[in-house]
Symmetry: C2
Subunit: 399 residues, 2 copies
């Protein structure tokens, strides 16, 4: 009789977005005339940049002609044209990454989950709480335990290493989803030192790096000395260039990231990942890779910057409103997320219902992201100016 992976059964189901959808459906049923403003889900709304669309169409045409048709990609890790463009992008903000250390994927989520494959059981997996649920769930799925370190009001929702706790694998996300906090250079140096001290690996999620404007906040873990010996970085074009539905991201595993096996031999993690991907992945769609390449051209960068500035203006509108209402929050500056404290001691779900019922604004209860999310609420800057401004007008009206 076939045996299932029973770790799935012991996992707590994450009902967050299902619960939200249910409450919204129920509300709509009883209030069909009310206009909801959704500021909950982290999806973008701005279309792809014109240069990206043109690149994809040109590549589609190439695929339709025998002379320019492309089948399997030899390496399955991405075409050089795209890896070179991304390496150049990394250089532009001082990160030390070589083109052949970059692996192109169909969005950061897959690699972020699949990376568990190359690690063994028995590692202490450290996750900051609150966190993107994928870090936790993908470890629980393979029967591993997760140790949490608190992000809270005391540390500005940006957890720092606790030297009394040992860790083997450390998940960090900066700028952070959901809290909007972003680590400074000094803070990241502390994390890298802690990882090296613990002979640990940092899984660094930099999906929101394009929203960073402060000079002392690095846009990559590889801006930090020593990170090449202890970190894997995962990034995505989802938020940078509106690729949530187009699907392209990249993972950087430096050549210097070498760990010891139980027999004492040295193993390059990039080799293990190559072996894993060689059996379970066949590369990213060629037209999508050409579309991604266009993001990194000067025209592409100018066009996507318009969209990012658009979202950042939304974040400013939200932050200004919360400032004037005296509501404390993190994020909103180097991040598309605003992580606010629910007023009047309300819990996140209570505040969710309160906003829904009174002003028809939809956000995400902090409880969905972990223990320290209780009493907090996530708003995103990915809506339109008009809807964001209207939501904030409504918020003022009840405050």
């Amino acid at each position: 009789m076939v045996r299932i992976n029973e770790s799935f059964l012991s996992m707590k189901k994450n009902y967050l977005f299902i619960d939200i959808a249910k409450r919204l459906a129920a509300y709509r049923q009883t209030h069909p005339d009310k206009e909801l403003i959704r500021m909950g889900i982290g999806d973008v709304t701005r279309p792809l940049a014109p240069v990206v669309v043109e690149a994809m169409k040109k590549a589609a045409d190439e695929m339709g002609r025998a002379e320019t048709f492309r089948g399997y990609e030899d390496s399955g890790t991405g075409y050089d044209f795209l890896k070179n463009a991304i390496a150049e992008y990394y250089r532009s903000f001082g990160a030390d990454v070589k083109a052949d250390e970059i692996r192109i994927n169909d969005g950061a989520k897959a690699d972020c989950g699949n990376i568990t494959d190359i690690f063994g059981n028995g590692n202490t997996v450290l996750v900051t709480d609150p966190a993107y649920p994928v870090y936790v769930d993908t470890n629980l799925m393979c029967g591993r335990e997760v140790t949490y370190i608190d992000s809270n009001e005391g540390n500005g929702f940006a957890a720092m290493p606790d030297k009394s706790i040992h860790a083997d694998i450390i998940y960090l996300c900066s700028p952070n989803n959901p809290t909007g906090s972003a680590y400074t250079r000094e803070q990241l140096e502390e994390w890298v030192a802690y990882a090296i001290e613990n002979e640990a690996v940092i899984i660094y999620d930099s999906a929101y790096e394009a929203f960073i404007s402060d000079e002392d906040i690095p846009r990559s873990i590889f801006c930090i000395k020593g990170a090449r010996k202890c970190a894997i970085e995962m990034c995505s074009l989802s938020k940078t260039a509106g690729f949530t539905g187009t699907r392209c991201g990249y993972t950087v595993i430096p050549d210097e990231l070498i760990v010891r096996a139980s027999d004492g031999s040295e193993v390059c993690l990039a080799d293990l990942w190559a072996r894993r991907q060689g059996s379970k992945f066949n590369g990213v769609s060629y037209p999508v890779q050409r579309a991604a390449e266009a993001v990194f051209t000067p025209t592409g960068q100018a066009q996507i910057k318009e969209n990012i500035e658009y979202y950042k203006e939304n974040a400013r509108i939200i932050a200004d409103t919360l400032d004037s209402l005296g509501i404390s929050y993190t994020g909103g500056k180097n991040s598309p997320y605003i992580w606010m404290k629910c007023p009047k001691g309300m819990g996140g779900w209570e505040y969710f219902d309160y906003l829904l019922n009174n002003i028809q604004v939809v956000g995400t209860p902090g409880e969905g992201f972990g223990r320290n999310g209780a009493g907090y609420f996530r708003l995103t800057a990915f809506s339109t100016h008009e809807k964001t401004a209207e939501a904030m007008r409504r918020l003022r009206s009840i405050s």
Copy 2:
């Protein structure tokens, strides 16, 4: 200290295509003037059908306009427009599959590898030998053992169940890569009966179904009664519609595929897979899904049929040549693969070198696919008519 997954270290490295590449590079170095004909790698050469290219370009345009832009796909399992088209396609050859049992992916390889996640350790994993190396490698990676069942000359390289062996998970591929054999309805009925008897799950790889022309060879395991209780099917547009570089496939997990957990509770495998994918996958690129949808339109089907017929004509040219030379083989009829016995008792690598040195034709040594591949050689029908005919002319010249 971080612990790696040490199963990777004990895996035999599959050097097959690396070895081939090395030998070719060495030959080219010493014979720069010789024209090689590559009939080894299973990649296609015909461009995407015009209707597919147009659909992708139209979708790229949609992504460039705010009114039609698409971000994250709600379910991450594929848009209904594509699932409905594939369900209709299944109905056209009598397979019992519902649209919501179909999960769209970025090519069959990922799901074929990742499906190991939902199964536990301790299963007896049965793989026909020779086989597509992914079935074996992805199980070894998670520390599982593989039991082999022989495909050989005696059974026409189409292994049948051995009732003396127990199995929990069974990998079948029909039409088969690499042997080109294809199971008849009766043979598949026997496999389904065996799986049900063993309370096992069949992982059925139907990537080459579009090459089937014989009426008694089913194009899906779901043409077989009972399969909905014991099988998962994985298919791909790679060979059907030349999507090796465009990346789209689909996995079918029927609602009726229910297994018992150790506590006796019933678990729907589709639910486990949904949970897995919900944490590790974010859906397929929208323009790629629109391109895939076009494959299943009447125009799309007519256009891809031209390509398939083109390859099948190549297969006939190869088969006719081998017939006339008295070389025995399987495949070539309902398959793009021709699995030939090496002449004069040569081993696969010996024959590889022999063909390379004497007629500059490149194929794949059977040894790369398992123990029973020794002394066999795989040729593919994916080249051009001209090159295929020229390769066969050369083969006759040395026979």
